[in-house]
Subunit: 216 residues, 2 copies
């Protein structure tokens, strides 16, 4: 099946949103925790977190200022902090439910039954049920031309890993954490491991990397 | 386990790369196809493709100008075009192998045994083995402050879907395509579906969405 630019333009708006959101492939599922200056908490699911670099440890996140995420964005601007919390199989439906438009003043934590906890001095709440979460300090926001979205650039501050999923080389086993991936707008998945591969060399075939979890 | 900012700074460089790359969650696995003006083809695996918006259909991609991806970036600047090709289970090891530093003049297509084909007028090659691929026209590049990376913003031009994986609402079933997701630097996975959920409403519980493939 071929879809031309014209075909895509002619798709109904919601159909096109499903279609185009499927093209990039599997996306990460994360909950963004924020607070305002009054200590009111907000929690929103995002599929737009992207690794930017390890040194310094930076993470990017695309936000749409005009939709439900606007409270998240306002809170991040107010305090300069947020948390990112990987979504796991045990609470994927609650995570999705945070995207409902709750009335002002109702926190997505209480509405969905997720639990707020804190990482170090970060004023933004993290999700107690998340097995891998971290605090992030806002460094800057860059407007994306053409569609009014914004990329937030944040520095990773403090990381909390609640299960023995750390390999001896620094890799974290998302499979054993039952971390969730999103396809399109609303399709949730867990991973099934094919394997890890050694750093590729031009003069040799791909070879499987066997690494151990710390403590194994 | 808690990791402070200081702990992260003290990690050896490669260990930190594995660790920080694992934090964002599952990432999409895509091959970027490009050509230079002499018609020499380049193919590179990337895990940094991010959905930017459906109207207009935009896709973002983070590039590191100082590593192997530099040929890809040079080609995109030269022609203004690239293709994005989802990686599937049948060729995940070949896809990884494109990250090897092949000598100048050796195409990753012939080196890894993947096949070049073309989408419409796009001069950049796509991957015949990919079941979901599309041509992209470069709109702009935005430098990311702080670490010298660049975000390429591209407009999706023409989409090719080679299997009956399109749902009646526009969603594409990445499971049936055996699309691959990446964890960290080198961990490859296929998805196992938990389900799709209806658009969340504040006054109702999450409910599973049953959609059919076109033609079912």
């Amino acid at each position: 099946m071929h879809f031309s630019k014209h075909d895509i333009e002619q798709m109904p708006s919601r159909y096109r949103a499903h279609f185009i959101n499927s093209l990039s492939g599997y996306k990460s599922a994360n909950l963004v925790g924020t607070a305002d200056h009054q200590g009111r908490y907000n929690l929103a699911i995002v599929s737009s977190v992207v690794h930017l670099g390890a040194q310094p440890p930076l993470v990017g996140m695309i936000m749409r200022p005009d939709v439900v995420e606007r409270h998240t964005l306002a809170n991040i601007r107010e305090t300069g902090w947020y948390t990112l919390n990987q979504v796991h199989q045990s609470f994927w439906q609650q995570a999705h439910q945070t995207s409902a438009k709750y009335p002002a003043g109702e926190s997505e934590f209480s509405a969905t039954g997720l639990t707020a906890e804190f990482i170090g001095d970060c004023p933004a709440p993290s999700v107690a049920e998340s097995q891998l979460c971290y605090s992030v300090k806002l460094l800057s926001e860059q407007p994306i031309e053409y569609n009014g979205t914004i990329m937030l650039i944040g520095e990773i501050e403090q990381v909390v890993l609640k299960q023995p999923a750390l390999f001896e080389d620094g890799h974290i086993d998302l499979n054993s954490l039952q971390t969730v991936a999103v396809a399109g707008l609303d399709g949730y998945h867990v991973g099934h491991a094919l394997g890890r591969l050694h750093y590729a060399q031009p003069d040799s075939e791909p070879t499987v990397l066997e690494a151990k979890c710390k403590g194994d």
